[in-house]
Point group: C2
Chain length 124, copies 2
């Protein structure tokens, strides 16, 4: 069922991560076939980091893992929607969701509260 | 606020479209700066079709437009989350959401009901 999906020229497919409890969209990240297989196998989300060119278990440094509740794909099979139980927060900047900026009167305004200080969580 | 966003090498940014009423993720599509500007200006979603290489108003053939309720961006400013009032259905295949296939026992199973026959809506 993974060969059936459409990956881009870099072998990646975007995954929308949604909070299974309240429906909030938490983040969008990219998977390759291996990280999707690990996600299904372990029940915890794994991604491919385009900037670090590295395969990662979400939460490996912070402990803020995501437990998979369901996996869906769309009509074109070129995108995934994964519902998760999010531990603590999805965003490495300390917000529950990465989508903490809203367009208000032509400006990107921060509309969420920080749950933690990223300097405490991601120590050198 | 549009120059501030990060577009890919083709000038595109992915947009997650979410139902403002019930939180369902309806679709993921791509915008360029022009289609985002039209979306904000008209209050209806506009996208860039990667396959047809064409700028489009969502619902221009079907009438199934999306009325914008809010626009968010994420920590990296390389993705958008747009909440909409969806008229009829988002998916051109007749489903309310494009994410109508769920992974069940290693298979992609259709878990939603069709709301319309696409042959009736998209006539030649």
């Amino acid at each position: 069922m993974f060969d059936d999906l459409k990956y881009d020229e870099n072998g990646l497919i975007p995954a929308v991560i949604q909070d299974d409890e309240n429906g909030d969209v938490l983040m969008v990240a990219y998977m390759n076939k291996d990280s999707l297989a690990s996600t299904v196998e372990t029940g915890k989300t794994h991604f491919w980091s385009r900037s670090r060119k590295k395969y990662w278990l979400k939460g490996e440094s912070s402990g803020h893992t995501q437990e998979v509740r369901s996996i869906r794909t769309d009509c074109d099979k070129d995108c995934l929607l994964i519902k998760v139980k999010q531990n603590v927060a999805a965003c490495h900047e300390g917000y529950r969701s990465c989508f903490y900026r809203k367009l208000e009167n032509g400006q990107w305004e921060i509309t969420a509260k920080k749950l933690f200080d990223e300097n405490d969580v991601y120590k050198a």
